[in-house]
Amino acid sequence: MLLARRERLSPIASLGAATLRLVGDMGAMFLFLLEAFGRIFRSWGQFPKTVRQIYFIGVKSVSVITLISLFTGMVIGLQMYYALAKFGADGFLGAAVSLSLVRELGPVLTAIMITGRAGSSMTAEIGVMRISEQVDALRVMDINPIGYLVSPKLAASIICFPILTAFFDLVGMVGGYLTGVLLLGGNSGVYWYRISAYLKMNDISGGFIKSLVFGVVVCTVCCFMGYYTHMRRDAVGPEGVSQATTAAVVTSCVLILLSDYVLTSILF
C-alpha cells in the first residue's frame, strides 16, 4: 500500500491520473448525492434526525450569521453611501444595499459561513466514524450509513440554507440602515422605500435558488469527503480526517463561487 502510495509517475501520467481521479470523484459524488437524497424520504425515522440537524446547522448558526450579516450590511452601507453621494444619488442607497445582499452577498456569504461552522464538523464527524469502524458497524447492522448519517444533514441543509440566507439579507439591510441613515444622515423613509420599490420577486427567488444549490453542494462535498476519508492518498488516520476537513472546506468554497457565477449568468 505504501509503495503504491509513493509510486512515481511522469508529469503527463500524473496529469492523466489526476484527471481520471477527478472525473471518478465527480461521478461518485453525484451518485452519493442521489442516494442521500433518495433516502431522505425512506422512513419516518429520518424526521427526528433531521430536526436535530436543523438545530445544529440552522439554529446554532444564527448568532454567527447575525454578526457577519450586520457588519457586511454596515460596510456596504458605508461604501455605497460615499460612492452614490458623489453622483448625488445617495437616495438610492437602500436599493443598492438590498440588491447586492439579496442577489449576491447574502447567499454566498451565508453558504461560506455555514461551510466553516457546520460543513467542517460534518466532515470531521463522519471521518472519525469512518476511521473508528463506526461506519462499518452501521453496515453490518444493515443500517445504510448514507441514509443514517448523510440524508438528515442534506434535508436539514436544504431547509436551513434559504432560511439563514433570508435572515442574512434582512439583518444586512438593517446594517446598511445603521451606517447609511443613522451614522451618515441619509433619509430613513427613502432608504426603506427604495428597497421595496427596486427589490423584485425575481431577485428574491434567484437568491433563494442560489442558497438551495449552495446547501446541496456544501452538504454533499463535506459529507462525501468525510465518508471517504479512509481512501485518501495523502494521509491516513486522524491526519486523514484533518486533511479531509480542510479539503472539504476549500472545495466547498470554490464550488460555491463557481456555481454562483453559473447561476448568476442563468438566473439574472
Binding site: M1, A4, G45, E125, V128, M129, S132, E133, Q134, D136, A137, L138, R139, V140, M141, D142, I143
Partner: protein, 276 residues
C-alpha cells in the same frame, strides 16, 4: 445443519486490499453451532478475513457461503436479511459516539423491528445486564473504559438474538477476570441459543476455553484447521512455538548496537540520571 445455525464455507479465498494480497488459498469450513477461533500473529490477516466474511471488503478471489447462500450471488434483499441475523463485535466496540450506551444497543431494534419503546427498553436492559452494564445505559461511550465499550459492543451484537455472531478480538485489552467472564458468556450463549460464532483472537487462554474449531493463519496462508485437541497435539514448529509462547531460537544476539551516548543529546540530562 439447519438454517438456524449455518456453516460458513470459505472456498479458494484470496483476501486483501486493492492489489495487495494478505492471505490466499483459504479453504475452510467454520461449522454451525460451534465456536470457531481464527488464530494467528499480529498482522497475519485475521481481522481482514473477518471483514471479508462480513462483506465489508470485496473478495480478490474465491467464494464464501453462509448456510446455503453464496454471498456473491445474494441479492440486495437477501444480504439485508442475512445482515439482520448477524451480530458483530468490533475490536474497539465501534459504538456510535453520539449515542448513549442504551441507544447504541437499541439501534438495531429501532431500525429493524416494530417493537414498542417499552419492549426495546426491556430488551436493551436485559442485554446490558448480560454483560454487566445495566446501570450504564445513560452513559456515552467516551465516558467508559475500553473494556466496558467492548462489552457494550457485545450487547449490541447480541440484541437481535442473531444465530451468527462474529467477534474481533473480544478479550484483548480486558483484565483477566473480565476476559474469563466474557469467555464464559460466549460459551453460555452458544449453549443456550445454539449460535454459530466466529472469534478472531490471539489470546491463547481464551482460545483454549472457548474453541471447538480453530483456523490458524500465518505467512499469508492457512497453517492449520481442525479441532482444539488436534491443534494442541501438533508438532509443526511454528504452531508449537505459537502455542507454547516460545520465541524463535537465535544463534546471533538480537541487540548489537551500542547504547546511545548521552553526549549526542541536544539537551544534557545526564546529571539527572547519574545523580550528580
Amino acid at each position: 445443519m439447519t438454517q438456524q445455525t449455518p456453516d460458513i464455507r470459505l472456498e479458494g479465498l484470496t483476501i486483501g486490499y486493492g492489489e495487495t494480497v494478505v492471505v490466499s488459498g483459504i479453504d475452510a469450513v467454520l461449522p454451525g453451532g460451534k465456536i470457531s477461533v481464527i488464530l494467528g500473529g499480529s498482522g497475519c490477516g485475521k481481522s481482514t478475513l473477518l471483514k471479508h466474511i462480513l462483506r465489508l471488503h470485496p473478495l480478490l478471489a474465491g467464494r464464501i457461503e453462509i448456510g446455503e447462500h453464496d454471498l456473491a450471488k445474494l441479492d440486495r434483499r437477501g444480504m439485508h436479511c442475512l445482515r439482520q441475523r448477524m451480530g458483530v463485535l468490533f475490536q474497539d466496540g465501534a459504538l456510535l459516539g453520539s449515542l448513549t450506551l442504551g441507544d447504541n444497543v437499541a439501534l438495531p431494534l429501532r431500525e429493524h423491528t416494530r417493537l414498542s419503546e417499552k419492549d426495546v427498553h426491556e430488551r436493551v436492559q436485559a442485554k446490558l445486564g448480560l454483560v454487566g452494564l445495566a446501570e450504564f445505559a445513560e452513559y456515552y461511550p467516551n465516558e467508559l473504559s475500553g473494556g466496558m465499550r467492548k462489552r457494550a459492543g457485545l450487547a449490541r451484537a447480541m440484541v437481535m438474538d442473531p444465530p451468527l455472531l462474529f467477534c474481533d478480538e473480544p478479550t484483548s485489552g480486558l483484565d483477566p477476570v473480565t476476559a474469563a467472564e466474557l469467555d464464559q458468556l460466549l460459551l453460555e450463549l452458544k449453549r443456550r441459543f445454539d449460535m454459530t460464532m466466529v472469534v478472531v483472537s490471539h489470546d491463547l487462554d481464551s482460545m483454549r476455553t472457548i474453541a471447538d474449531h480453530v483456523l490458524v493463519l500465518g505467512s499469508g496462508r492457512v497453517l492449520f484447521q481442525g479441532g482444539l485437541a488436534e491443534l494442541e497435539a501438533t508438532q509443526d514448529e511454528y504452531l508449537r512455538r505459537f502455542l507454547d509462547r516460545r520465541a524463535e531460537e537465535r544463534t546471533s544476539p538480537r541487540v548489537t548496537m551500542p547504547p546511545l551516548d548521552f553526549s549526542v543529546m541536544k539537551r544534557d540530562c545526564s546529571r539527572y540520571l547519574n545523580g550528580e
